[in-house]
C-alpha cells in the first residue's frame, strides 16, 4: 500500500517537472533540421534549361517545351514529393531545396516556377539544337580545356548537318598518308 502511494507520488513529481510540451507554433517559427528538403528553388542565373531535372523527376512535374525560339521550363510544385532528385541531377547545381515548408495556399497557381530561355537553331537547316546557354557552355568548356579546341564553329549545327559537314573541315578530317 505504502509502496503504491510512493510510486504515485513519484509520478506526480515527474509530471510537475515536465512543464509545457506544446510548441508555440504557428505563432512562433519552428525551423526544421539541417538536412530538411523543402520547396525547390531554381537559380535562374545558373540554369541552362537542359532538362536533366525533368528527366529525373519521378512525379514528372517539371516540363520542358520548345515554342518558337523560346524554351519554357515549368515546375508544377503541387505534386512535388520533395525527393531532391532534380537537385542531384542538375549539372549546374541550379536547383536547391530550401527549408520552406509552409506551402499551404488558397490559389494553387502559387505553387509553380516558370522560366523562359532563348533557343539556338541550326544555322543550315533551322532545327533546334539547344538553348543559348547550353551552346555557350559547350563552347566555353571546349575552349578552356587542355589542350583546347580552336575550331568550335561546328557547335551550332544539328546532328545531320554535322554528319555532312565534317568532310569540309581539315582539322576534323586528319588525312593520313598511306
Amino acid at each position: 500500500m505504502l509502496k503504491h502511494t510512493i510510486s504515485e507520488l513519484k509520478e506526480a513529481l515527474i509530471c510537475l517537472e515536465a512543464g509545457q510540451v506544446t510548441l508555440p507554433y504557428p505563432f512562433q517559427p519552428h525551423p526544421p533540421e539541417g538536412e530538411f528538403r523543402g520547396k525547390p528553388v531554381l537559380n535562374s542565373r545558373k540554369c541552362m534549361s537542359c532538362g536533366a531535372c525533368a528527366n529525373a523527376c519521378p512525379a514528372r512535374l517539371i516540363s520542358i517545351q520548345d515554342n518558337g525560339s523560346i524554351r519554357t521550363l515549368s515546375f508544377n510544385l503541387r505534386r512535388c514529393t520533395f525527393c531532391g532528385l532534380c537537385r542531384d541531377a542538375c549539372p549546374q547545381e541550379a536547383i536547391t531545396l530550401s527549408s520552406q515548408f509552409e506551402l499551404s495556399t488558397v490559389t494553387p497557381e502559387d505553387l509553380s516556377i516558370h522560366a523562359e530561355f532563348g533557343l539556338v537553331n541550326c544555322r543550315e537547316c533551322g532545327k533546334v539544337i539547344g538553348t543559348q546557354r547550353q551552346v555557350a557552355l559547350v563552347k566555353d568548356k571546349l575552349q578552356t580545356c587542355e589542350p583546347g579546341f580552336d575550331d568550335t564553329g561546328y557547335v551550332d549545327l544539328c546532328n545531320s548537318c554535322k554528319r555532312r559537314a565534317f568532310i569540309h573541315n581539315p582539322a576534323l578530317l586528319m588525312e593520313v598518308k598511306a
Partner: protein, 173 residues
Amino acid sequence: MKKMIFCDISRCDNCGECVSACAREHYGRNSMFIQPVSDFFIPANCRHCEHSPCVEVCPTGACSRTDSGVVSIASMKCVGCQLCAIACPFGAIWFDALDKVSRKCDECKERLAYDLEPACVKACVPQHALVYGEYEDLLKDARDRGIHLNISRAGGGSGMLIRIPAGIDKEGG
C-alpha cells in the same frame, strides 16, 4: 594496338544492314547512322576521338574513355543534359527520349570482350564497305587495293579510318 574500323565510302550502297545490326546488338537503340551526301553515303557512328569533346564537356563523368580507347556513355550516370550531343563534331551522339539519356556507339563492347568484330562490320557482308582490323594492316590492305588516297583518320583516334571518294568534296554541302 587497338583495332579500328576501315570504311570505304564509295562501296556503301545504303542497304541499312549495319544500322539494323547495331539496333539488334543494342536492344533496338542503334547508334549507327547513314547520312546521304550527293550520291555517296557517309557512316555516322562514333570516331572515338583521341581528344574527345564529349568527354570534355560531360558534367557528370558519364561519358568517359577507357584505356583501350573506346569512348562510351555510362547510362546510369548520364542525366540527359545533351551537352555531349552539342559538342560532338560528327553528330554521332543522339538523345534517347525514351530512357532520357544520351547514347552513342560503344564499338560493341560486349562483342569485343569475346574477340568478335563489331556488329556493323559483321553485317556489312554484301559490299564489304566496313572492314575491321589493325591500323597498319588496314593501310597496307588499302595500298594493295590501290585505294590509299584521301584516307581520313577522323578525330585522330582509334575508332575509324574513312576513305573519302574524290567526287564527294566538290558536290557535297
